[in-house]
Each structure stands twice: as structure tokens, then as C-alpha cells.
């Protein structure tokens, strides 16, 4: 057997590789056709299928407003076209919403950034020392379950009613999925891989850097994605309570709801949801960019 020949057991030979050994059965590469079909299916599934649901949702909205509410009650849930007309087609109203969106984005991204740094760091520490995990993890769970409402007086006393307190609320809400997913990812590295590193007496830092962190990336990104959605909620909840400083979406929600301005309330709510969807989609895209090359969740 000559050294230059392509191994018989090969699949997907690279373009321009040595010609197959004479007598080699044609190499089967069904993969070549699959990505395209998958891409088309992906497009249909991801972008077209949600539309019927959207239509049903809007139809249901009209029905509820029309049937369940008297004209005097409709300020609570105005017709969708009223929401669009007042909230989005009136420039001064739209400008309020967009400006609020900007501040909410600021809180969201600062809070998410802090959550990612703290969450990943906490998970690494817990992974490195079992006693830290045992000591800290239950409190991470508690942090997740404590009603944020209960914290607001204390937060406002120490950190005031503006950006700092808003960001803290955001971090408290977004922190946990990052810790738990990162920890899970670091801990679910294949035992065989650990033994391979152990055979070469690899230090724990090298093992963390070359084995555990890369292996944990898919789980970490799943956590970031959930946390991104939660940090939008965190920012809005924070603004709802801490109203000093620039008005964010949460601030406006609170104002509009107290003034019974249904149209602007719902327009703001829709924008807040869109922001949540946008960060969720962004992290999905980022995840595919970073780990999609080698990590394929089992689908199809």
C-alpha cells in the first residue's frame, strides 16, 4: 500500500485530493445535497411557519377586543390597528418609544455583559472546587427564585433610583441560566477526553482552556441566549421600579398604564417583545458562528 493513496475508508475527500484508488467503490457523499434542502426547510420552518400563528394571534386579539370589551372598556386592549396608528404612525409617540428603546438597550446590554462575566467566572470557580459548588450553587438558585419585588427597597436605598439599580435587577434575573449552563457544559466533558489529558499530566488551567471551555461553548451559548431574553425583561422590570433618569420602555409602560393610554402601552409592549426576540435571534446567530462549524445538535 503506497503512502500517497487516499484511505479506503474515507468520506468527503477534499476537492483536488488524490484520485481514488483503482477499484475503490464510488465514495458516497449524500451530504453534498443535504445542506441545501436543510436550508430551504430551515427557511420555511423558521420564517414562514410562525406566520399562521401570528395571524391567529391578531385575529384572536380583534375578537377579544370586539366581543369581550364594551367600547368604554376598549382602552385596556385597543384594536391592533389603533395600536399601530397611535403608537407607531404618530411621530412624536414613536420618537418616545424609540428613545426609551435606546435606554432599555443600554441597561440590557450592560446587565447582560455583567451577567456573562460574573456567571462564567462563577461557574468556572464552582467547577474547579467542589466545595465552592456546594457552597454557592444553592444561593444561585435562591437568587433566581427570590421575588425581585422584595429587593427593590433595599436596592433603591443603596444604589438609588437610576441606572445602577436597574442594571442590578437585570443581572439578578439573567445571571442564573448562565451559571447553570456553563457549569453543566464544563462538567459534561467526556471521561475519555479527561483521561487523555490526565495521561499527559496536564495542569487544570490547560485542561480548562484546551478542553473544558471549548467543550462547554454550545451549552454556554444556550445559556447566553436564555439570559439575553431575560435581561430584556430584567431591564424593563428595573425601569418599572426605578424611574429616575432617562425613561426606558419599562418607565413608559408604568406611565402609560397609570394614564390608561392603551394604544401606547401596547405599542411599547410590542417593541419590548421585539427587543427580546432580536437579542434571542442575535445570540442564536452568534452561537452558530462560533460553534456551528463543529457542533451540530442532533436534528433530522
Amino acid at each position: 500500500m503506497s503512502l500517497e493513496s487516499v484511505p479506503l475508508d474515507s468520506v468527503n475527500p477534499p476537492a483536488g485530493s488524490a484520485p481514488a484508488v483503482a477499484g475503490t467503490p464510488a465514495v458516497l457523499t449524500p451530504d453534498a445535497t443535504i445542506p441545501r434542502r436543510r436550508a430551504v426547510n430551515g427557511f420555511v420552518n423558521r420564517f414562514l411557519l410562525p406566520f399562521p400563528v401570528f395571524a391567529v394571534f391578531i385575529g384572536g386579539w380583534y375578537l377579544v377586543t370586539w366581543l369581550a370589551l364594551t367600547p368604554q372598556q376598549r382602552f385596556m386592549l385597543p384594536y391592533p390597528h389603533e395600536v399601530v396608528k397611535v403608537g407607531f404612525l404618530n411621530w412624536s409617540n414613536l420618537k418616545d418609544i424609540l428613545e426609551a428603546l435606546r435606554y432599555t438597550c443600554t441597561v440590557t446590554f450592560i446587565g447582560l455583559g455583567i451577567s456573562i462575566v460574573l456567571g462564567v467566572a462563577a461557574a468556572i470557580l464552582m467547577n474547579q472546587a467542589k466545595w465552592l459548588e456546594n457552597g454557592l450553587y444553592p444561593w444561585a438558585v435562591v437568587l433566581q427564585t427570590v421575588p425581585i419585588l422584595a429587593l427593590t427597597p433595599v436596592l433603591s436605598f443603596f444604589f438609588g433610583f437610576a441606572l445602577t439599580s436597574r442594571t442590578i435587577v437585570c443581572v439578578v434575573i439573567a445571571f442564573f441560566p448562565i451559571v447553570s449552563n456553563t457549569l453543566f457544559g464544563l462538567q459534561s466533558v467526556d471521561r475519555g477526553m479527561h483521561e487523555l489529558f490526565a495521561l499527559h499530566r496536564t495542569g487544570r488551567f490547560t485542561r480548562l482552556w484546551k478542553l473544558q471551555l471549548p467543550a462547554a461553548l454550545p451549552a454556554m451559548f444556550a445559556g447566553f441566549r436564555v439570559a439575553a431574553g431575560l435581561s430584556v425583561i430584567g431591564a424593563i422590570v428595573g425601569e418599572f421600579f426605578f424611574k429616575q433618569g432617562n425613561a426606558g420602555l419599562g418607565t413608559n409602560l408604568s406611565v402609560y398604564s397609570s394614564r390608561l393610554e392603551g394604544e401606547r402601552l401596547w405599542a411599547t409592549t410590542l417593541v419590548a417583545s421585539l427587543l427580546g426576540i432580536a437579542v434571542f435571534v442575535f445570540f442564536g446567530w452568534l452561537s452558530r458562528r462560533v460553534v456551528g462549524r463543529w457542533y451540530q445538535p442532533n436534528r433530522g
Partner: protein, 248 residues
């Protein structure tokens, strides 16, 4: 320069026993020797502690009795599973152990290129593990160990998950590397034909608790012609090993 005479054994087990914490006795009084440059296979019923032999030889597990000597500057270990890092290309996977051992860059790159050529993966350096067949993943795993030029090589059923054709092909190629590099090999398998084809001695183990029951010498000289698989003598040897296994 050392004045020591080369040791008679690259690998020696004397009365080795292993009892796990749950009370299972994996090995009882196991004796075996692998001389430098010798290829020895171990066959035995599943669960007889074959893999435990290797785990002990490599230091992954310790013994509960007996003595183990490994005379080696570098031990290679090929697992049942290719254990490649899925985010690293073939080349980067092959480089891994050299990286962990802190080998200099120039030396490392040269050895990585050699090892990739040795296992026949030239042209596939940039492929990721999920783009490779099982056989090619195993080649990558072999190359990764070859980079460190081990003088003692432990194989834990490395080709057990492969189809017959791929397995025979990799057997031929591994023997070629063995002849070229001259390492001592302890090869675990549950394929009798593979054991006979590869080694100069086949050790047969008893069911748990495992001990070495008997050994069958294989007289074929290296390098071996793949065609010896179809000789009457080869068949007779396989028959002999199989009989020992059945009576084990």
C-alpha cells in the same frame, strides 16, 4: 549516554491484582511481559479486565496487589474511541499531545506532518472530526500518539467499532508502522484473527477475575504479508486461540 543495559522487558506485570471499590475483582494475579519491540495481543471474554491491564500500565488506575514495571520514555495509548476534540481539525488534533507535552514548535510541526503522512491522512489536515469516517478518526487518533514517538504502545480495542474491511486495512497499516518504528505493543482485542495477525504472542485471559490463562506463539516473521490471513497455518492458530477462549 547511559551505561545501563537495556531492560529485558518494556512492560512487565508480576502477580498484579485489581479490586475496585465496589468489590469487583477485575484482575487476579496477572503476569505478563512485553519485550522491547515486541507485539503482544490480549484476547478474552468481555468484562475480563483486559482494559484494566492497560489502564494500570498507563497509570490511569493503580494496582491493589503485585508489581508493574514500565520501561519507557513515552507511552502511547490508543482508546477504543478516537477521543478527538470535535472543534479541532485533523492537524490540530494530531498536534494536541505534543502541545500538552510542551514540545517546541518547529519540532512539533515537523512531527505532526510526519505522523499525518504516516497514517495516510495527507490532504485531510483541515477536516473536522465530524467530517471523517470512523476509520479516519481512528487514524487521526493513531497519528496523535505517533507524534510523541512512543516506545511502548497500548491499544485498547482501537478498531473494534470499525467494519471488517477497514479494520483489516488498518491492521496492515499499523503493522507497517510497527515495523518502521519498532515500539513495544500491548494490543487488546476481541477479534481472534486480528490478534493472531498482529502479534508474535497472543495471551488468552480467563473471565473475571481476569488472569492470563495461556499464551499462543505466532511464528510469522515481520513484516507480514496480508495474504497470510488466508493460509492454513493462520487458520490453525486462530482455531487454537479460539479453543483456549472457549475453555477459558
Amino acid at each position: 549516554m547511559t551505561t545501563e543495559t537495556p531492560p529485558a522487558a518494556a512492560l512487565r506485570f508480576a502477580g498484579v491484582s485489581k479490586r475496585f471499590k465496589d468489590g469487583t475483582v477485575a484482575l487476579a494475579d496477572a503476569d505478563l511481559t512485553v519485550a522491547p519491540g515486541e507485539f503482544v495481543s490480549v484476547v478474552g471474554p468481555s468484562g475480563c479486565g483486559k482494559s484494566t491491564l492497560l489502564r494500570i500500565a498507563s497509570g490511569l488506575d493503580d494496582v491493589t496487589g503485585g508489581e508493574v514495571d514500565v520501561h519507557s520514555t513515552s507511552v502511547g495509548y490508543v482508546f477504543q474511541d478516537a477521543t478527538l476534540l470535535p472543534w479541532r481539525s485533523v492537524r490540530d488534533n494530531v498536534r494536541l499531545l505534543a502541545e500538552l507535552e510542551g514540545m517546541g514548535r518547529a519540532e512539533r510541526d515537523r512531527r505532526v506532518a510526519d505522523a499525518i503522512e504516516l497514517v495516510g491522512l495527507s490532504g485531510f489536515e483541515k477536516h473536522l472530526p465530524h467530517e471523517l469516517s470512523g476509520g479516519m478518526r481512528m487514524r487521526t487518533s493513531l497519528a496523535r500518539s505517533m507524534v510523541l514517538a512512543p516506545d511502548v504502545f497500548l491499544f485498547d480495542e482501537p478498531f473494534g467499532a470499525l467494519d471488517e474491511i477497514t479494520r483489516e486495512r488498518l491492521n496492515d497499516e499499523l503493522l507497517r508502522m510497527f515495523v518502521q518504528r519498532g515500539f513495544a505493543a500491548l494490543f487488546i482485542t476481541h477479534s481472534v484473527a486480528e490478534a493472531v495477525f498482529m502479534s508474535s504472542r497472543v495471551l488468552v485471559m480467563t473471565p473475571r477475575p481476569g488472569r492470563i490463562k495461556t499464551e499462543v506463539a505466532v511464528p510469522f516473521a515481520y513484516p507480514r504479508d496480508p495474504e497470510i490471513r488466508y493460509s492454513a497455518e493462520f487458520a490453525a492458530l486462530c482455531g487454537e486461540v479460539s479453543h483456549h477462549l472457549r475453555d477459558a
